[in-house]
């Protein structure tokens, strides 16, 4: 990775980043498309969180939409009913989801595999029930309207959609960078080891419990960040921002993009959202097509688009290297690919 400046992965990252940066310029005042992009970017941040816990650590957390909803409602309620400014409420949202995730993880991560999924599903549903029923605090189904835009301190005007878009994009780039950094670091390898086999990881001295808990807390923090931004972008929020369906949609985004990859969440989120918009006329019937797509993907292409591109690049490179000195491709991709291979053959 350090020797070649023009590795295909870098080129891909650069292209995606450029496309996102330049998108508002090419739209030329298409407010609606810009809005879809902004909302998509907030989802993508949450999907990065899911990537940490599911893609890297291999734990299916179905409470993710719930934590997103907590972020949404903390910002939504604090800026309206309690008249706080955006940034302090946002900070509270991030802290609450992060700490909440850590504390919930203490209990949730005692369970394993299927039990963890079911446990988090119940947790997510309880969060949804509280939000949709606790009328005196959350206004239940009437939702929260008039969520404040972030304060620009005279420098920026976040009520301007383009400016808001770039703010969300900044966080999205941050989320992508964190994922990249984690994947490269020892922590990332530890998480992948846990994903491959918990027992094996434990036997070589990995503190499985603590690492899983940190990954879970990080994933809920991402959900909180995304939720907080989502509230500001939308201005109006309802209980559907915490629903289990949202979790399932995020699951689809990451699956299409590629579990455990750096670009997967962005690519998957925007691609599927684009499909959603395309099928918009059919509204509820879109799942007639998308449901089978999920099934087909998970059976035939569980690595997602970016995962396959990575594998393809890795193969090309090892072939080229095999012809030369045989030193192979970048070690990080190689290690993670073998990890997925091991997993798939298990």
């Amino acid at each position: 990775m350090t020797t070649t400046t023009f590795s295909p992965q870098r080129l891909g990252t650069l292209l995606v980043a450029l496309a996102l940066l330049l998108a508002p310029l090419t739209l030329g005042g298409e407010e609606y498309v810009l809005r879809v992009l902004t909302v998509g970017a907030t989802y993508a941040i949450a999907v990065y969180g899911m990537n940490l816990i599911l893609g890297l650590t291999g734990q299916l957390s179905l409470a993710h939409g719930g934590f997103f909803g907590i972020g949404v409602y903390i910002v939504g309620l604090l800026t309206t009913d309690y008249d706080w400014a955006f940034w302090p409420s946002f900070l509270v949202a991030v802290l609450v989801t992060g700490l909440g995730g850590f504390v919930a993880g203490i209990v949730a991560l005692r369970t394993r595999e299927e039990y963890f999924a079911i446990f988090t599903m119940a947790m997510g549903f309880i969060i949804f029930l509280v939000i949709s029923r606790w009328e005196s605090v959350t206004h239940a189904h009437s939702g929260v309207s008039g969520v404040k835009f972030p304060e620009g301190f005279g420098l920026f005007d976040f009520s301007e959609p383009v400016v808001m878009y770039y703010l969300v994009l900044l966080f999205l780039l941050g989320a992508g960078y964190v994922t990249h950094a984690v994947r490269r670091s020892g922590i990332g390898r530890t998480l992948v080891a846990i994903r491959t086999s918990e027992d094996l990881a434990r036997s070589i001295g990995v503190n499985v419990g603590l690492n899983k808990q940190l990954a879970f807390a990080a994933s809920t923090t991402f959900a909180g960040v995304a939720g907080g931004l989502f509230a500001a972008v939308q201005g109006f929020v309802g209980p559907s921002a915490a629903s289990l369906d949202l979790t399932f949609e995020m699951l689809m985004f990451i699956l299409v993009g590629g579990l455990g990859t750096v670009l997967g969440p962005v690519v998957g989120t925007f691609l599927v959202l684009f499909l959603f918009e395309f099928f918009q006329d059919f509204e509820a019937y879109r799942f007639l097509v998308l449901g089978p797509i999920i099934v087909v993907l998970v059976i035939f292409a569980p690595r997602g688009i970016v995962g396959y591109l990575n594998a393809f690049v890795g193969k090309l490179r090892s072939r080229a290297a095999g012809a030369g000195n045989g030193s192979g491709g970048p070690p990080e991709h190689r290690s993670s690919d073998t990890a997925t291979d091991v997993k798939e053959t298990l």
Binding site: R110, T111, Y285, R286, F287
Partner: protein
Amino acid sequence: MTLFIQQLFDGLALGGVYCLAAIGLTLIFGVLRIPNLAHGTLYMLGAYVTYFFLVTVGVPYVAAIGLAAVVLAVIGVLLERIVFHPLRNAPHTHHMIAAVGAMFFFQAVAQAIWGADFRRMESPISGSVTILGAQISWQRIVIVVTAVIVLGLLTWFIKRSIHGQTIEAIEQDRTGSSLVGISPSRVSMLTFGLAAALATVAAGLVAPINLLAPTMGDALSLKVFAIIILGGLGSLPGAIVGGFTLALAEVMTSTYVSAAAGEGIAFVVIVLVLAIRPTGLFARAVQR
């Protein structure tokens, strides 16, 4: 006291429905070791297919449930073949993601055919009987009686008949059963068919009391998970005890505390049970 007896019967009827739905889920978990998140949508489809036979075709109530059970058994087998069989060696997260895909698909199908609006299915069994001052509708009595009969037949099938015994054999030891000539593949199909048929019977019985909607399976799906976690994943008696326990807890909580609390109790049960015992109450040794 009258209110209590009324609620007790309501709880028993609901418990019968939960048992039938939960047993299918627990059987699938026992045999394939996957939590079938799409189970609630099979129940929902079962309700709609029963509605189709009863209202659109016009066959008698019992026959409608029977025909719907057959149709759903076929759908269950197809689901196993098309979705879960190819994933039998995949990591556990993949089954759940695929089940979510199937769930979305079935909901969209129901919505495409029958629309998103609520539908009412008139029960051919009307009237009620007064027991200890409480008005108990015949439909609820029918539910309890049918549930007991079906559960009895099922127990006989699994414990005594050769095909049923293969289910238990696979649950106990997959490799060992293959060695003595039991095909895990065939048993998986049988289990899925059976589970879908049982969910249909449950749905057909309760449909006249509740309304039909494409989303009716969502809440049930989570509740049956609560039940089988309470009773131990893969355990048949556990599902029965768990079903009645949860139903009574739910009915009593919504009567004496609040409707929202009644709705949420299933999830509180899941969280509490798993927080105390991460592998569920009465969990058997996990086969790996």
